[in-house]
Amino acid sequence: MTTPSLEGFLAELSLAAAGKAGKKVLEKIKRVWDTGKFGFSPYDKELATLAQVSKDPAYKRFREIVGKNYPYLVYIKIGFLLHKLTITGEYDRAENIRKQMYQRRGQNVSRIVHIASTGVLAHVLDYLADRKEKHCLSPTALRQEFDAILKEWNEIAIPVKTTDTIEFIFRSAVAIAKKNPPRFFIYSLGKQTEKAWAAVARIRKDPQIIGSFVAWSKNNNIHGKDHFICVFYNVENELGHPLTRN
């Protein structure tokens, strides 16, 4: 059988839909379908986005580490989809999906969806993968670390907003550091990134941070927008992690 064209296939479908074809056309449609060249979904673009997410380097790296049976992988993909819908201006659809996730899937899923919609999830996954490689964390430890980050996110994350000053970001970071968490995050998008850099430079030199926290940061450009994340992780926690391999 020759390779079917999309136009030809749709023409066959339209013809049959208009009642101008019978059993033979249905059989032909089935034969074309069986080639596996086409799929069908009312949300074809979203499906394509989800398929793209599965090829995202940060996602792939994280998946390799936690294992393909990790139950939150499916929600991480949905989180990436939500971010894409938000930046392409499809707010109603994004809100609809967000509601579905919040209502039906429990607290951790809601947190993944929330973090993903800020656009910072890919960087968190990147950070975790980097930690795994540098510090020989076991897959179990990494899953636990991710679960802990989800649970504590509202207390340990500083999103840099338009109205925030460098001083405010600095004070917020020091206030979190005083509580001695295993790690805390500062992240920014677009124009707020320069302010975030300046605040992070100041935080790194602060006596309350030096010797207690080590910084890991990453700059990225996603869909034409600057993304920045800095993770300050606790040295004390780092040395005594019970699940490190070494």
Partner: protein, 82 residues
Amino acid sequence: MHQEVKFLSLKEPQKRVLLKALGYELDEEDYVVNAETGKRLLCKYTNRKISLQDASVLPGSTIVIGSSPYALAKYVEEYLED
């Protein structure tokens, strides 16, 4: 490796034809039913019945699933990830 697949967005009459060609019918409420048994189909990922409006069909198969983000993401996980 997985071959490149094109996902189509079809008009309602085209969907009806495609489902029919793949061995399905629609009941009086436009839910997808197995043409042989007459039983309503359930999405393998969500276990929910599938309406004409909600149906997605996986490439190269006759498997019909619902189109919730969860079902689509599970499909990607099962069939498109290495």
